[in-house]
Subunit: 469 residues, 2 copies
Amino acid sequence: MAKAPVLTPQAEDFPRWYQDVVAKAELADNGPVRGTMVIRPYGYAIWERMQAELDRRIKDAGAANAYFPLFIPQSYLEREQEHVEGFSPELAVVTHAGGKKLEEAAVVRPTSETMIDAYFAKWVQSYRDLPLLLNQWANIVRWELRPRLFLRTTEFLWQEGHTCHATDTDARAYALRILREVYEDFVVNVMAVPVFAGLKTDREKFAGAVASYAIEGMMGDRKALQMGTSHVLGQNFARVFGITYLTESGDQEFAWQTSWGVSTRLVGALIMAHGDDGGLRVPPRLAPVQAVVLLVRDEDGAGERAAALRHELAGAGVRVELDARVDVTFGRRAVEWELKGVPVRLELGPRDATAGTVSLVRRDTTAKETVPLAGVAGRVTALLDEIQTTLYEQAVARRDTNTVDAESLDAARDAAQRGFSRLAWDGSGDAEDRLAEAGVTVRCLQRADGGLPESVDESGLFAVIARAY
Amino acid sequence: MAKAPVLTPQAEDFPRWYQDVVAKAELADNGPVRGTMVIRPYGYAIWERMQAELDRRIKDAGAANAYFPLFIPQSYLEREQEHVEGFSPELAVVTHAGGKKLEEAAVVRPTSETMIDAYFAKWVQSYRDLPLLLNQWANIVRWELRPRLFLRTTEFLWQEGHTCHATDTDARAYALRILREVYEDFVVNVMAVPVFAGLKTDREKFAGAVASYAIEGMMGDRKALQMGTSHVLGQNFARVFGITYLTESGDQEFAWQTSWGVSTRLVGALIMAHGDDGGLRVPPRLAPVQAVVLLVRDEDGAGERAAALRHELAGAGVRVELDARVDVTFGRRAVEWELKGVPVRLELGPRDATAGTVSLVRRDTTAKETVPLAGVAGRVTALLDEIQTTLYEQAVARRDTNTVDAESLDAARDAAQRGFSRLAWDGSGDAEDRLAEAGVTVRCLQRADGGLPESVDESGLFAVIARAY
């Protein structure tokens, strides 16, 4: 009799498979207040690796980290009309504190443009102060009616960058630099997820922005997930908050701004872009644990060999753990590490100890090879590179196989039910309404060569259309 | 005519000097909601260095990071009587969210015992699950009536550790391990601040704890600052939240717990423990910028030399910046770096470029030496070690000079107005009331040899008494 699978199969019910992975791989749990999330140690370790990789790229792009308060006075949020209208339905509000009713309600930040801009107005005086490039790692609250762990939670963790520039050109260039050199580079080269980068339509752009750029990945169910956004804000917020600077020629001008962010939603993307019916598959460059040494039984010196192997791999720069819990069945432990998506398992038992061998099991292909213990570190390092490449190639193949060039809106709408479609786009008429009726949206606009448009009014654009998270 | 000092002198008004340093070194600013704080990039860079050093030690002590929600249901907080009474006056409460009144108000976490314990109750089943050692980096809200930047703010950043153990002995040992190997080790060896480690009296202990341990440092005005706490919680919270486990012999038992934390208050400690009338003095092991190369004027190849010097120092592992802002006066830039407390300044002008020399200026002593450019990296590295040692020795000397062994409560109370006093302590009578009337408190209880007591009822204890932040 076949054993019941640990997870609901993807083909049977993708959303349930997702929930199962989140629970069984011990990534997260529901919080007690509706829509909130407990990020468990393994889920948080993945987020810490994401943070480290992103933080390095953000600093390389010249931005410095800072921290601004959680509570925004209600009046600040109300200053930019489009912005407050966009966020009002999602706000959590502190009305009482320190045992008293507050004179002015404090909003728990849904994003920090209005808070940070109030300080930019103090700090920016002259062209010498520009560009001013800040980033913060913070928690954010947006009340969600249909929460889903990692993908859409009432509280989430993110980084939000906020910058001021002397010219529109500088600001636009910086927004695109962040999109390409920070977000796309991280998602493609570390997370091994190919993306379409493009411009959002007016309907999909950030509340208060002039232009919003995004990267969109294809998940295992062929739906799109927005994985990062970078906004050109023009002088909209600068006018409202009075962020002015003295130009070199002695004039006062409003600063040009950007803002940009990625969040713990990326953990959801990781699950859905690479996961299979066995659980997570974490690309080696991202993995908090790249390899696990599984001691089968502690006989014939196998325990010592396993410990030495862990030590050797750690010395070779591999993020490795030793699982010597021989009082738990081997099968159960193997399933645990498979669920967690650790790229390479090294299984070592008494026979291996005697023979001087170890079995290597790849998580991506389940291929297994028995190799001599001597020189195993080199083999593991090479295998990690192979797995990184394989996961990326698999994701590219899925994306390309399921992306259709459509000739008409109807064809694009139908194809978008089963994947991505691309359609020549002029933005006129009720095209977006007709897509919305069918439950699909324009994920982004690109030039014919995949390049980034400056505005939605550019001619010769193509729309990438899909169902989306 | 002498120039007006940049900062209020310490001797004139220590609290104003503190405020001046925070503002002029660009560490932090007041937030718009009462008592909140904007941590500016240089202040945040110091906090990031603190986080990195503490996080490594916490992980070495076996704890894993996780993240729990910001919002705690009011009912959770109310379960532990002493705990809720301790925190009630400081709570911020969300009553409205998503455009509606909430059925149950959500409290913004003032600490996370009650939230995390609700999950420990699910995760802890058997002795095999113990010890369970978690930590989180998070923001915390406690409404403050008399806020001061870094020292006491309505919102602050911290880490909070929460653990479950199989026995009282294990839990106590772990609480002390964190106090000694994480907090004391970091504060002494990285922050260069000597501390008294000891047990809090019942009056000063954490609301809900069996015993609270703390490390207390002496600031520049000879007042005490609590720099970290580690609590033995017994089974108090475990009983309330139902954290039980199956013992090896098959019984159900409540888990034994600890919790422990340090916060952005440590940045305040850094300022007050080492700062002088010129500004901050940051110990090299902590400093985000350990050395700055100050280009005096870009003539005779000085600019190239300065850039090469920065490159060489970075290659030698020094955290170094190049200040080539030659359009700002040299004096103004030197004062800026002095305010920021960067341990070593390397001043390089055209004459140095020609002579192949550079001037090294120590921030701790203001000693200046001119040395050949060849071999300067080795000299800077050695100097950083010397400065670390000097700052620690100065802090020890101040602490020891200003700590008095008192023979009577009256003598101890008087001496505590000018520093620390130590007094044989049996905890009986109204001693703590009489100290409180004079504005001083028992900072901690120690054994005669400085060791940590198990309980306040132990005989032969000494009290460390001081004014405190």
